[in-house]
């Protein structure tokens, strides 16, 4: 038997003449964890779609050799029958069905004549959950009541139920916090011991270097190199070099010549309660100050209350019984809704661009001007569409949105370019204060760099910028000052000199102990 479970040879796939994959080779050894790296649009997902039969045999050139035989998959069902299961970034769970039902979704445990056998379903579901470290979960609760981390594991359990041999995970940790991610990676290592081969696609290079046995780097639809653990350098810098084709010496552009001015944004004694539970305090006595030209980070673990804090400030978009005051340019302002917030020169770029930031079926232009339409692109309620076009063209160029034209729908753009459109949307409202919630989530290294450059420009022009990020290196690399938030409170405030990943974790731990 060959040592390779999967060989994809000379795969070429073109979309209306444009080659998305050009002579790509991928060899995956039996029982290894193989990482697939590359910038967004490099062709990783296309390659996996070729493998799983989303793009049927005949629509691409090249061979797929699986278990030593050439496979011609025409749809996902055929590849799944062979034990190849792909778990996409967007989870395919039905939130109102129970855990057990989801684990066997499309693969129901039936007695004769298609009647579901609930006893076996529950029992087997429990077994599958044990394999992914969720042995303690009740299989009868609806999946929607569990956290994203657990849902991701249930997806894996679902794959296990299909007798998976080759598991493909597309950005499995994109929506998870550090702790959940770590758990998922441990599960992957555990699966490896059980003999399951994994292909992981991820932008989080630290995770890849931790978990992978070999790494194949794809750039512009071509295989660049395959790195093997123990033989090659596995450092993040080395992988990035392969991905972008050059050494990215500094992942965070230096901010130079920024004069930090007076405090222009201040939050005083801010308290917020949970929207569904008036007794549950989510934000407790938070005080924050940001100066003009300053970039301030809000660090903390997922669920620490950072997004809740930001959204409650931004026109009371979250929570109830909100108390405290907001001062902009030293003046106390009354912000009752989002419109007030925009009028008071406040902008909030949400963490979830697809659900909260963009109208995906609409074009770039209309998305860019959506928030500023009322104040800057209309007179007496009538839109000035010519000004609108000019502004959209200007920002498309300014922040380098890669698209054919401003009339392209944003749904067809890559994540990085979508994020740029959201940024442009809020820059067009001409804010003094910008709150950026996870501004680089799920986007590639190159686009991240460009977004950091935009942040620097904003600071240079005297805006106050607040960055919420779960990626600590990002907070450390971009911020002048960092507030550490834990359990809805400010746990610590760190200067640029003090801040480090260890220091942030220490602050969180110390704050946790204080509570106990």
């Amino acid at each position: 038997m060959s040592k390779y479970i999967l060989e994809m040879n000379h795969i070429t796939k073109a979309f209306s003449g444009v080659k998305a994959l050009d002579d790509v080779n991928l060899k995956v050894k039996r029982g290894e964890i193989h990482a697939l790296c590359g910038e967004n649009g490099a062709g990783k997902s296309t390659l996996m779609n070729v493998l799983s039969g989303v793009y049927p045999f005949g629509s691409y050139e090249g061979d797929i050799v699986y278990h030593g035989e050439v496979c011609k998959f025409h749809n996902i069902r055929e590849s799944e029958a062979k034990g190849i299961v792909i778990i996409h970034q967007e989870l395919a769970l039905s939130p109102n069905l129970s855990v057990a039902e989801n684990v066997f979704l499309g693969n129901e445990q039936t007695s004769a004549k298609g009647v579901i056998n609930w006893t076996i379903t529950r029992k087997k579901a429990h077994e599958m959950l044990e394999k992914v470290g969720l042995g303690g979960e009740d299989v009868n609760v609806p999946v929607g009541s569990l956290g994203v981390g657990k849902q991701q594991l249930i997806e894996i359990a679902k794959a296990m139920a299909k007798k998976v041999e080759l598991l493909i995970l597309d950005e499995p940790t994109a929506a998870l916090n550090d702790e959940e991610s770590k758990k998922l990676l441990e599960i992957m290592l555990e699966l490896k011991k059980q003999g399951i081969t994994c292909i992981i696609i991820s932008h989080k290079l630290n995770e890849i270097s931790y978990v992978a046995d070999s790494i194949t780097v794809i750039r512009d639809g071509k295989t660049i190199e395959t790195l093997i653990k123990g033989e090659d350098d596995f450092s993040e810098d080395r992988i990035i070099k392969g991905m972008v084709g050059r050494e990215l010496t500094n992942r965070y552009p230096v901010r130079e010549g920024v004069a930090i001015g007076d405090t222009i944004f201040e939050i005083k004694d801010w308290n917020v309660y949970h929207p569904d539970d008036a007794n549950r305090q989510m934000i407790k006595n938070v005080n924050i100050q940001v100066k003009a030209g300053e970039v301030v980070g809000l660090a903390g673990l997922m669920g620490a209350g950072r997004t809740e804090l930001a959204m409650s400030i931004f026109g009371k978009s979250y929570g109830q019984k909100i108390s405290g005051s907001i001062l902009i340019n030293g003046k106390k302002v009354e912000i009752k809704n989002v419109k007030d917030a925009i009028d008071n020169k406040l902008a909030y770029v949400s963490e979830d661009r697809k659900n909260y930031g963009l109208v995906l079926i609409d074009d770039i232009k209309r998305n860019m001007t959506m928030a500023a339409l009322r104040s800057f692109f209309s007179k007496n309620g009538v839109v000035n569409s010519n000004d609108e076009i000019l502004a959209a063209e200007e920002y498309k160029k300014k922040i380098n949105v890669k698209a054919n034209s401003i009339n392209q729908t944003v749904g067809s753009l890559s994540g990085g370019n979508q994020q740029k459109v959201v940024l442009a949307k809020w820059m067009l409202t001409q804010p003094d204060v910008l709150i950026l919630d996870e501004p680089t989530r799920g986007i590639d290294v190159g686009a991240k760099y460009e977004i950091y450059c935009v942040i620097n420009e904003l600071a240079k022009s005297g805006k106050a910028v607040v960055i919420i990020s779960s990626e600590m290196p990002e907070i450390i690399g971009t911020c002048d000052r960092v507030y550490v938030i834990n359990e809805g409170e400010i746990a610590d405030e760190l200067s640029k000199e003090e801040v480090s990943q260890e220091r942030i974790m220490q602050s969180i731990m110390a704050h946790n102990r204080k509570d106990d």
């Binding site: 809704n337 989002v338 925009i342 909260y356 079926i361 209309r366 309620g381 569409s385």
Partner: protein, 389 residues
């Protein structure tokens, strides 16, 4: 190198419009030209006036990703109210019209309140107004037809603008209609020139000249065909004026105002709209309030045309209006669709009805064909979008 600054016309944009012409031509052949007669052109407008009015309002509901099932009943209630006031109480026509409009407004606000501020699904709320409205109509009219309505009121639905008729080719020709056609022609030419000038000024891409000429030639032909036929009959029906004014206003609202843009944003992604400072509740409230008022307008036009108020008036109109929007290319999920599309959709339905009646098909068969056309149009629309991706 000079940048290429020319783009082709987007033919897809005119797809349904071409389908409309094609259907009309097919029926012209099938009926041996019966549907080309001046009287029939006039009928087309008079019979479809209220569907167009309702489709215009319905499009806004469809843009939010919902529908209003109550419009047929509101048409009936408002028509009944106007009829009762004039016939039983001898009220002045204008008072009756205003009362009918106010009732439409109130019903719209009622539905809008439940939808916007209590977050009850529009399907349920308007299903309720549909039932309540129909029941109310039967109660008010005691299941009887109320009529005849005064002549000046009937004018709204069945009257014509003043005419200047001259003998022409074995009949008469109304010079007013011809005059209007001339004005429309001039407007089309001026509008196109202004659009080209603006594009040049801002340096936007232009369409190739031959395409612009071809497009406007088609429009011009249709305008002249249309007004010539009307001129050969009784001149311009008053309903046409109501229709054109409403279509013009709503095209403007949807394409050029902040309010219109907010409806599209809400339909495309309500959460994103809310976080962009759009008061989504207010948008919902006004969309349904507006639908109530337009239903009242349709109710007045319908009762005027029939010269009576009947309890069954407007039965099933909501379905015609909804179908018009979808045939006209509006997205079922909301966020995409145009007023002109909905109007074209309404006329496709109208021409189908009209052509099939002239050909002698029963209303039962007509329903089957209309259903098939709705399904076919939406299927083609969705499949063509899928191919693009």
């Amino acid at each position: 190198m000079e940048k290429k600054n020319v783009v082709n016309l987007n033919m897809k944009q005119y797809g349904m419009f071409l389908a409309l012409i094609a259907i009309y031509v097919i029926f012209a052949i099938m009926t041996g030209g019966k549907n080309l007669s001046p009287a029939n052109i006039n009928n087309l407008i008079m019979q479809n006036g209220y569907v167009v009015i309702l489709a215009v309002g319905m499009l806004l509901c469809v843009l939010t990703g919902n529908v209003d099932l109550g419009v047929g009943s509101v048409v009936a209630v408002t028509g009944a109210t106007a009829g009762i006031l004039m016939v039983d109480y001898g009220t002045n026509m204008w008072v009756a019209i205003i009362v009918a409009l106010v009732i439409g407004l109130l019903i719209g606000m009622f539905a809008g309140f439940f939808i916007a501020y209590l977050s009850i699904p529009p399907f349920v709320v308007t299903l309720a107004t549909m039932l309540m409205g129909r029941g109310l109509t039967y109660t008010l009219l005691q299941a009887q037809t109320k009529g005849p309505l005064p002549d000046e009121y009937v004018f709204i639905g069945a009257g014509f603008l003043p005419t200047v008729k001259v003998p022409f080719a074995g009949g008469t020709l109304d010079l007013v209609s011809i005059g209007v056609a001339v004005v429309v022609t001039v407007c089309i030419i001026l509008g196109e020139m202004k659009s080209i000038a603006t594009k040049k000024k801002y340096g936007f891409a232009l369409n190739p000249t031959w395409q612009i000429i071809a497009k406007n030639a088609v429009f011009m032909f249709i305008v002249w065909f249309f007004f010539y036929k009307l001129a050969r009959y009784n001149g311009i029906p008053f309903v046409l004026i109501i229709m054109c004014v409403l279509v013009f206003i709503y095209v403007f609202i949807t394409t050029s105002t902040v309010a219109g843009r907010q409806i599209y944003a809400l339909g495309g992604n309500a959460k994103a709209a809310r976080l962009s400072g759009i008061d989504t509740r207010k948008v919902f409230f006004w969309v349904y309030t507006n639908m109530g008022v337009l239903s009242a307008v349709a109710g007045i036009v319908l009762s005027a045309r029939n010269a009576s108020s009947t309890p069954k008036a407007g039965d099933g109109f909501e379905m015609d209006a909804i179908a018009s929007c979808y045939i006209g290319g509006a997205a079922v999920a909301g966020g995409a669709g145009t007023i002109t599309g909905a109007v074209v959709g309404a006329f496709i339905m109208g021409i189908l009805n009209n052509g099939m009646s002239l050909y002698g098909w029963s209303t039962d068969i007509q329903k089957i064909v209309k259903g098939a056309v709705l399904l076919g149009a939406v299927t083609i629309d969705i499949l063509s979008k899928r191919k693009k991706n």
